[in-house]
Subunit: 556 residues, 2 copies
């Protein structure tokens, strides 16, 4: 078999990615700065124009069906893009038919094609960024970074793990067993066989970042992928599917290896597809309720879910009070707390904490964080909206109003006017104080820009609350602030016990809600917030199976 030209083209990148996942130090393939110095003078303008060319029109995708338009931009950008509404039977039939050729192409060719798709998407990264911005409500720079280069890096990371896993065994081996006479010799062939049709159920808030790992892990391991976007954020996935199909067709493969499953409002298409016998892998990001439903009902499939949790910060002491407040304020404000990784509960001893500015009472800590949020998000709305973006959907908006009664207000959430998009729904973060014994309130998830400063009896009590709440509800992130190595060690033990990733004393340019591809694992799969991590061996190993054949060889 001759080497696939796309494998040859991308072999060096793949090799570098394989090194990165084994070392997990810093590496990134796609530059995260949208600067013209990096992407060229015209890239931003051309990308925006490409995005605008989609508005109000049928989306250019060669899939059958009538058309649906379901998106409402949180910024009020008129979208009205009409996507093909392909029926489930057609999607499944087309995916099934595409499987054998892709399976037989082998891991090298598949890795090459996947890397070419990622590169093609990268060529259209501003178009993608505008799509994520308009549909998710993320401010533009964040939409560019998280929705573009960071998502592409996560996709590449998944391809690297998938490749490593598929090639950890040889394609053929000679087995030669010594015996009394001539050795018994057999030739063995090991086929990498995909599970079947893969389904990716995407979310509203991070349409590409949360879906690329599953999409590329399944595709790289030989499974045709049906991409079911959230009805509120179809465009980023439609763009993704468009260019994926383009690359697949150019490379001589069936474009139906990647299909878009756009749905009408309240159609429930995810459930229809997820329970089809042909669907053998599901990746889902979204609510705990629906993730649990998938795990319980899509029993024919391997199901990877990232659900909700109660992210927690333990504040014990700090040698940089201002840095701590600024860092937490940014984490609470970024994308209006609509990240699955945003801290919700900040546990502070009721008796206050030691800081570089002397002893700070509980209320002073609360005020310090509240003022930092106010400064970042509210004082200058034109700058603030570039951090907090817009509220992605009505449910999140309503939850803010409902939350106001759930504690004592430290910093109220107010409506802000977006200087560029007058119709945008913009709300500043809400900070509440709560007593430590009100666990029935703060022990639940309050998704959106809603956080609790919880007054605990002590750091020891904070650690107990942390273990109890995260053990029961899960979490995607945790953080601790302490100048005491023993407290840091205890927090780390507690984090290991409840299976959540921990950030210690973040006061600078790294934030608890951000994870770096190729180095940080996103989620652990060890607590109720997610049953898998992005990305590790377990995330890819069960997306394919090995089927072997053996036959005798003549004695040597």
């Amino acid at each position: 078999m001759t080497e696939n030209p796309l494998y040859t083209k991308h072999a060096e990148t793949l090799a570098r990615a394989l090194t990165a996942i084994a070392e997990r130090d810093y590496w990134s393939h796609y530059p995260e700065s949208p600067s013209p110095k990096v992407y060229g003078e015209h890239a931003a303008t051309e990308g925006k124009a490409a995005f605008e060319a989609y508005l109000g029109k049928p989306f250019p995708l060669d899939q059958p069906g009538d058309r649906v338009a379901t998106e409402q931009s949180p910024f009020g950008i008129p979208l009205e893009i009409k996507y093909p509404h392909t029926d489930p039977e057609t999607l499944i039939t087309a995916a099934t038919a595409a499987l054998p050729g892709w399976r037989d192409a082998g891991p090298d060719a598949r890795a090459g094609v996947c890397l070419e798709i990622l590169d093609r998407l990268h060529q259209h990264v501003f178009e993608l960024a505008n799509a994520v911005h308009a549909t998710s409500g993320q401010a533009f720079v964040m939409a560019f970074q998280a929705g573009g280069p960071h998502a592409l890096d996560r996709g590449l990371e998944a391809v690297a793990y998938a490749y490593a896993e598929q090639t950890r065994h040889p394609a053929t081996a000679v087995w030669s067993k010594p015996g009394k006479g001539a050795p018994l010799r057999m030739a063995k062939t090991f086929h990498v066989v995909p599970r079947g049709v893969a389904l990716v159920v995407c979310c509203n808030t991070f349409p590409t970042w949360n879906s690329y790992p599953g999409l590329f892990a399944s595709l790289a391991t030989g499974n045709p992928v049906i991409v079911k976007p959230h009805p509120g954020a179809v465009l980023p996935l439609a763009v993704t599917v468009r260019y994926a199909r383009e690359v697949l067709a150019e490379a001589g493969f069936d474009p139906n290896l990647v299909q878009l499953a756009a749905e009408a409002t309240n159609e429930g298409l995810a459930s229809t597809l997820a329970t089809r016998p042909e669907v053998k892998i599901i990746d889902f990001t979204g609510s705990t309720a629906y993730g649990d439903w998938l795990e319980a009902n899509a029993r024919q499939a391997v199901v990877y879910t990232e659900k909700a949790g109660v992210n927690t910060v333990i504040v014990d002491s700090t040698d940089d009070f201002d840095g701590m407040c600024r860092n937490l304020a940014f984490s609470l404000s970024l994308y209006s707390g609509q990240m699955c990784t945003t801290p919700q509960n900040i546990l502070v001893p009721a008796g206050g904490i030691d800081t570089d500015q002397g002893r700070k009472s509980f209320d002073e800590v609360a005020t310090g964080i509240g003022e930092a949020v106010h400064k970042l998000a509210v004082v200058d709305p034109a700058k603030g909206v570039e951090i907090i973006g817009a509220i992605a959907n009505q449910a999140n908006q309503q939850r803010i109003d409902q939350a106001r009664a759930a504690g004592e207000v430290v910093l109220d959430s107010i409506e802000l006017t977006h200087p560029t998009y007058p119709a945008a729904v913009v709300r500043s973060p809400l900070l509440l104080k709560q007593r430590g014994d009100a666990e029935q309130v703060y022990g639940e998830e309050w998704f959106g820009p809603i956080s609790f400063l919880v007054a605990t009896d002590s750091t020891e009590a904070s650690l107990a609350v942390f273990q109890r709440v995260v053990g029961a509800r899960g979490a995607l992130t945790a953080a601790v602030y302490s100048t005491d190595e023993q407290v840091l060690a205890e927090a780390e033990r507690a984090a290991v016990a409840v299976g959540v990733n921990l950030s210690c004393n973040l006061t600078g340019g790294v934030f608890v809600n951000q994870s770096a591809a190729f180095s940080d694992f996103h989620a652990t799969g060890a607590n109720p917030a997610a049953n898998a991590a992005l990305t590790d061996g377990a995330y890819v190993a069960n997306r394919f199976r090995v089927v072997q054949s053996r036959r005798h060889l003549a004695a040597e």
Copy 2:
């Protein structure tokens, strides 16, 4: 941290095993010949004496509880061994308490301890072989090989995969992100964290071979293991648990990391344990019905099942008719067809096949195989019983009588007298002819020494039957006989499509029902007969999770 002395002791063996699983050519660590030349002059006698010392007594295991004795030897050997009957609450509590120390010991120490356990068991391999022989009904040499060295090799293979998976990421990394000023630097720690308590539900027929991979995969990845033996084959696992606890205690670990969960008759202990919230991993070998029950009900756990299937042989043509008949006869006779890998359906074109002895009619093929079985198993019962062993339980015995009406008898099953054990239940294999359109009969599993020679319209029709039956019911093995490379290629395509391992033209000393550790995968996880393979990356990767922490480092 200083290197664990058991890791140091076994590092070379571990390294060799890691090479073997990556190359999958021939390797074995534990010699499979029970010869005194290999094991020493007294090993067999001493092992038998050690086995006999257990009979009729309380088994020496320091676990609390009253005592149960449930075993009936298929050979009629009086067992009456009384095992501790520890209640589920005590087992779970003890396992949970043992977890943290084992988790914190890390992958190196755990691998060292696991290899020491395997070596300790190997020192007692004749004791183990007698236990397997007496409880399963396997003839002694087979009980020695499959229950001893081959099981130990499979255990070592699992430890190697577990070690590779846990160490594919570094324990620590420095992340240094270049920027405008000094790079952002963080120290990252990656903790390998076990899932929780692991349960191994063992079978009657291969008490050690089928349980060691799961037992050692879970233990090596940090999970305390509760071993629930089949009530009919407790001793091999009691011996295993005894020496495992001995090694654990010597190495300074909690012996409750490995516990025996012996049960009273009809207690249903597996279900009680399997649905406990603390149990996070289950390995099961046995019936499809109970495997399906576990998958549906033990939803808090990752469940690995090896269930039943309809193993199939496609006979198209052969250049060694006698060799084919002999080889198949051995596979049908070995341990009275009570292997999950024994062929059940032999698909032969009704119009006959081409052979090195000219054209053979369907009936001549049936007769050829039948005569070969007769010669092997019946003609000289003293030799025959060393292949067919005894019938493991009453259900298998009854099924033979029931099966007699399920087709036209080619070779009847008769009762044989065991020269050593007059009370043994010994039955020769039953061969039946069936029409190709009687799929409702041969399309179901008939466990035990029951096989069908199915007359199909053609090899093409055989391939269709194969795909349909294995697709619906699963299979652990498949074989094809053909002199036509195109037919072999088609059979391989069909095997890949339904996800079953295929053996081609076995006429010598390799049999379709045997798989070699470190080279052959047992089961694929790609058809209904099993949801996992022994052993690959997917089998170990989800038995632990990685939990990370990160903190700032000063700029360099």
